[in-house]
Symmetry: C2
């Protein structure tokens, strides 16, 4: 029996998120079905991050246990031949039998893509949030500075969650413009439910001039979801990668 | 009666190209239907470029004549509220009644996007050509240099066409890498049927080492379609813009 770690990319547009649920097709169930067909075993993957409906990934992580004779690093190529083209296993490798994608120290990197110009771009409608108003990126960067470091992010957590500990650490929060594309890149030790999308929704309100950068400090200190901006839409968000600094994987 | 010029962007994935045809839905017919509904007239647009099935546009051009009282520059916003989200009119403006999008001097700019890395990216599958082999960009640039200027591009024209004059001028042909995305940007006074895609298919063969850069000069001189490389797939191609240097529009 081997434990196999998968690095998984997907276009989340046509999925009801990662986690199996009764009302729609999910990335997890498509992986389970295709890995089961490939190995002839009943495979159940354990994922690192339960991305929401419409959210994309370049590097989500999952593990499963199998007796397959396919060499671990070939599993990616073998299952990609079966998977639909909106899910790709980027990498497969053997990890120790007790390696778990969630119960250890992690660093997650997300990007949120905003298309900031006067008219929408139909080719980018599935992976960007279209904002036609001018954005003051300097104001957004000053606001973002208040969010870096260790804080209680209760104001930036969807209220429909039962998580108790809302303290997280943001290591980097950069806002980069390239032509009409504005990328918010954020790296932290973990993120609450909808946290990146609420941060982006709030920063966009700063960029439009509705909040001053200093108000973001007040929002953070309020520890109340209703004080922050709206949740930015899912299609702009991509889970770029998950690092495991403790294990070097 | 006014003549209105439209600048049109679309995601070509789900269309059988620009031009109306019996076997599938096209961008032209969707524009005609929605402009007719908007104005209450029977509108027939005349397009500048008949892009192929699956090819995208940031700035194709079309004109139509109308008695509508909607101000010319507002037509874009009004019709965008009706159009499906994969077609967007970027701009609308009045032009002289004899202004024609094809029968005058034009400069067209295309980009072709190649995703060049080991594994596909599901989010970019609709607007890039995935090439997993390493590409020698310097060799591709040396080959591209032979194609710049005025030449008979018969070798780079789909044989299923009855066009007589196959002489065209390429003003610029640049190959730029940004991370794992390779962009071939090409500007010319006109392009033959499939010409950009055959050029890209040939340059990719140079980049993989199957042709030397000098062979591209021989292919050009052969004036025979079978001498060039395969036609690169449509989804990597986007018509960026059409300029009309004679009229300043």
């Amino acid at each position: 029996m081997k434990r196999i770690k998968l690095t998984v990319a997907y276009d989340g547009t046509d999925y009801c998120g990662w986690q199996i649920q009764p009302n729609g097709i999910t990335v997890e169930e498509v992986l389970n079905r295709n890995l089961s067909e490939l190995t002839g075993e009943e495979i159940t993957v354990t994922g690192a991050s339960r991305t929401d409906s419409g959210v994309h990934a370049q590097g989500n992580v999952a593990v499963f246990d199998s007796d397959t004779t396919i060499p671990p690093e070939r599993i990616a190529y073998a299952v990609n031949r079966k998977l639909p083209e909106d899910i790709v296993v980027i990498r497969s490798e053997e990890v120790p039998g007790d390696w778990h994608p969630r119960y250890q120290e992690t660093e997650k990197t997300y990007e949120y893509h905003i298309l900031n110009r006067e008219m929408p771009d139909p080719v980018r409608r599935r992976d960007t949030y279209f904002v036609s108003y001018p954005l003051d990126l300097e104001a957004m960067r000053r606001a973002a500075a208040y969010l870096k470091g260790e804080h209680d992010f209760k104001s930036f957590c969807n209220a429909h969650t039962d998580v108790q500990d809302t303290v997280r650490t943001i290591y980097d929060l950069d806002i980069i413009r390239s032509g009409d594309l504005v990328t918010v890149r954020i790296r932290g030790n973990g993120f609450l439910y909808n946290m990146v999308r609420i941060i982006v929704g709030t920063l966009v309100r700063v960029g439009r001039g509705f909040y001053s950068p200093g108000q973001v400090k007040e929002i953070l200190e309020a520890k109340e979801r209703t004080s922050a901006g709206v949740t930015a839409p899912p299609q702009g968000l991509v889970l770029v990668k998950i690092d495991y600094p403790g294990t070097g994987t």
